[in-house]
Amino acid sequence: MTREEIRVKFAEIVEVSPAEVADDTPLESLAAWDSVAMVSFVALADEAGVKLQPKSLRSCSTVGQLFDAAGVSA
């Protein structure tokens, strides 16, 4: 999965348009980034063949850090 593909799918999860999601977007600014979205993101990473440790997501503060945690290179 490319960075662009994961960005589009992530935007779907947090219910915004892909244009509203950039690497430096703070997760805090996304109203729908919650426990439900986190579960969806774990599923998305799994689809990309990455076994995510949910603990590693909690230390992320931006969208870019989240994608890094999912092993999708910039």
Binding site: A32, V39, S40, V42, A43, D46, L52, Q53, L57
Partner: protein, 339 residues
């Protein structure tokens, strides 16, 4: 030809009161309950009354099983109750049910404490009892009332769990091939903290009563008397444990995916089920999702889903069915049932 354990009947009982997505949405407009339902597929949860225990639900399910005519109370020579919310610490709840159900006094009765993997384990015990000549008709009761553990403002679990019970009759029948088994089990207690009610038993007998007007996620510490679930951790566990369980079960039973007519997984929620189904390349028409009307009823989801599949003909004589349970413990187990 020898006596093989086989499932001969399944019935279930749900408490009368319900909590629907519409109810939750009206009470908690900011929870995004509709969005949650679009993921979980759960629109109704049944909730036990204040004075209604898991054993009461189990009792009703057992009466239904007897009313179906597959067996009467005097046929049962062993009772297994799988619950995580017994009536008492002492005595065993199954013993009280022996008396209430009018089972024979020469019947064995015992509780077993497991969550969503429990039904598979109970079948394993029942098979062992029957095929070693210790019992002929085992009544397996699964029952839980998780709603009583749930903080009213905990969105993450209130939307998922419902109360319920199932009664399954496992009997010895003459058969030239096994009707239940083989079994694959697994445990990883290092994940115990991911789904837990910390307070109330020996490790933490006393704890402060939680403020019922503050959501647990906004408290400095999770309230010990209530159910806590780390959804993302549990989901990640499921994605790694269940595919391994699935592979091990196929290997041990020497079956391929296509030899299995129907897959009945623990009904955690639709999102988990659909993710697993796709990951394991199981066709949708051979995979049961029966969660909308009852939610996650813990150890009863598999028998409830099987009952649905019996109703629509997907389980019928000659069919081979795979059962997979997984969850709190962390604990998992799988088996093959031939109808």
């Amino acid at each position: 030809m020898r006596s093989c354990a086989a499932i001969r009947g399944i019935e279930y009982h749900l408490p009368v009161a319900t909590l629907t997505t519409a109810d939750l949405s009206e009470r908690f407009p900011d929870w995004g309950v509709e969005r949650i339902e679009s993921r979980t597929g759960i629109h109704t949860r049944h909730i036990a009354a204040a004075d209604e225990c898991a054993s009461d639900l189990a009792y009703e399910a057992a009466l239904k099983l007897f009313a179906s005519g597959v067996a009467g109370p005097s046929d049962i020579d062993f009772l297994i109750l799988c619950t995580q919310y017994p009536d008492y610490f002492v005595p065993t709840t199954a013993c009280t049910l022996q008396s209430r159900l009018g089972l024979r006094t020469d019947a064995g009765a015992m509780d077993m404490n497991l969550g969503t993997s429990g039904f598979v384990y109970a079948l394993g015990l029942a098979k062992g009892l029957i095929e070693t000549g210790q019992a002929s008709n085992v009544l397996v009761l699964t029952a839980d009332t998780y709603s009583k553990f749930i903080h009213p403002l905990d969105r993450s679990v209130r939307t998922i769990f419902g109360d319920g019970a199932a009664a399954t009759l496992v009997s010895g029948i003459d058969s030239d091939q096994p009707r239940i088994g083989p079994f694959v089990y697994g445990t990883d207690g290092s994940g115990a903290q991911n789904i837990i009610v910390k307070g109330g038993a020996a490790r933490l007998p006393r704890f402060p009563v939680a403020d019922q007007s503050v959501a647990p996620e906004d408290m400095p510490e999770r309230p010990a008397g209530h159910l806590f679930m780390d959804g993302a951790e549990v989901f990640a566990f499921t994605l790694s444990a269940v595919p391994a369980l699935f592979d091990a079960l196929l290997r041990k039973s020497a079956l391929s995916r296509d030899d299995i007519d129907l897959f009945v997984f623990h009904q955690a929620n639709r999102h988990i089920l659909e993710t697993l189904r796709k990951k394991l390349a199981i066709p949708a028409d051979r995979f049961v999702i029966a969660i909308g009307e009852s939610g996650n009823t813990v150890s009863s989801t598999i028998p409830i889903a099987m009952k649905h599949a019996l109703g629509d003909g997907r389980i019928a004589p000659g069919k081979t069915v795979a059962l997979l349970g997984y969850g709190m413990g962390l604990s998992w187990g799988g088996t093959i049932v031939r109808w």
